[in-house]
Symmetry: C2
Subunit: 264 residues, 2 copies
């Protein structure tokens, strides 16, 4: 049996790959086997990987079903990078940093809009958040080079100790080599292995509103009004209820509270 990948390429269906994908959300190997077994009757030649994973997801016990799609949820924060910056700001805050989002800082030569400025123990760092819209896009060497160039311009005038580059996708091996060599912090999808973006988000318990099982149009309305993480919904209920018909607003709040109960 073959599956159609996102790129349009056909590929032989590989049960080991599917098992790995299920294991990654934290199930036991036995559970993973059982889940794959239970979706087998629905598999057919030429099905898309997207449908395959939707099938699998529907079999996962909550809250894994939610974590499983964290990567997609972050993509849905786009197409612009604004909400991703806000998300990262909240994650750093939860990690005990003092955080300023989208700051204009004067450098030696020019002013820069810095996505996130973080301070802890009197040490200041700048964070460049690079949001990619498409799965499979890798962060390029250019991004690492300009992150460094910007840091150099800001370093002395703002007392910045080091730059971070955070992305929602992967880094090319070149970027990793460059960053290690220069002493630049990198955070990406599953990078570094013991503390990648997905781990930071999980540990901070800061979830983007796009993990919620609500309409895309409702997500868009929320993002437009700067509701970026689930806590925003809980904390700003009256404002939210003003944006939607009563029933819709209440349904969204209920879904959010349910989700947060499940993951905490």
């Amino acid at each position: 049996m073959r599956v159609v990948k996102r790129s349009g390429e056909l590929e032989d269906f590989d049960p080991a790959k599917a098992i790995n994908a299920i294991l990654r959300v934290g199930t036991s190997p036995e559970e993973a086997e059982a889940i794959l077994e239970s979706v087998k009757p629905y598999l057919y030649d030429g099905m898309t990987t997207e449908e395959l994973y939707r099938r699998i997801r529907s079999r996962l016990p909550a809250p894994q079903a939610q974590q499983y799609s964290l990567k997609k949820a972050i993509m849905l924060l786009g197409p612009e990078g604004h909400a991703f910056e806000s998300l990262m700001g909240r994650v750093f805050e939860q990690m005990g940093y003092q955080v300023l989002v989208r700051q204009i800082l004067k450098g030696r030569c020019v002013s820069h809009e810095v996505d996130v400025v973080i301070v802890k123990d009197g040490k200041k760092a700048t964070v460049e958040c690079k949001f990619h819209n498409a799965l499979g896009t890798k962060s390029s060497i250019q991004e690492a080079l300009y992150t460094w160039g910007r840091f150099l311009d800001l370093k002395d005038t703002n007392n910045v100790e080091k730059p971070w580059l955070v992305t929602n996708t992967k880094f090319s091996s070149e970027v990793v080599r460059y960053a290690c060599c220069m002493g630049m912090h990198l955070i990406g999808w599953k990078y570094p292995e013991d503390g990648g973006l997905e781990r930071m988000i999980d540990e901070a318990h800061i979830y983007p509103i796009t993990v919620l099982d609500i309409r895309r149009s409702e997500q868009r309305t929320l993002l437009y009004h700067d509701f970026v993480i689930c806590d925003d919904i809980v904390e700003r209920k009256p404002e939210l209820l003003g944006l939607f018909p009563r029933e819709t607003g209440e349904r969204i709040i209920k879904k959010t509270e349910e989700f947060l109960r499940n993951v905490r």
Copy 2:
């Protein structure tokens, strides 16, 4: 009367602007006035600026008609930046530099593909060629920052004295400020005023094949086979004749020789 700009915006037709555009190709103010007068019967409310300029161009005496569209000819070298890099290599060569195009150089941390490396009087510089596909795109601060970041990584390992950033469009004022402050050379459309890209090309007499009045498909075939400047056609006639039916090939060569006679 209003004209439709490339962006789709409507704008009141400004005769002074049109006169300036005509003057820029080197006509006298009287000639410019006369040309504008002669196209006036063809102007109508809601015409596109593109059509307006096509009308004007048709009234220009050759070779100005050709120079007038140099900006467009450079755009036609795209969509990728490859041919623009080759063009710039040839221009620098004509200016007396030793030139290497698309070199992989080892930096302190990683290897870089450098668009053009130029050497003169024992001094080496790296040239980042940033090709933009769309009129009106300005070179961004990110491009300047990563040009600098790349230069820093290459500087000591390759004995590079300074970086250049060359683009076929304009620079934002931020880029100009940054480059002046850092000592980075900038070349762009009409930048610097006394030696911008159009001036360098004119002075070097190095013209992209896309200035020729031949079919777009013929231009593409030529570019694909690495005929980038008009001299390539004259110097590699037998190869060119192998790419097209005899008559087509001869017509292209004739057009090229005619063009070069006009501009030299």
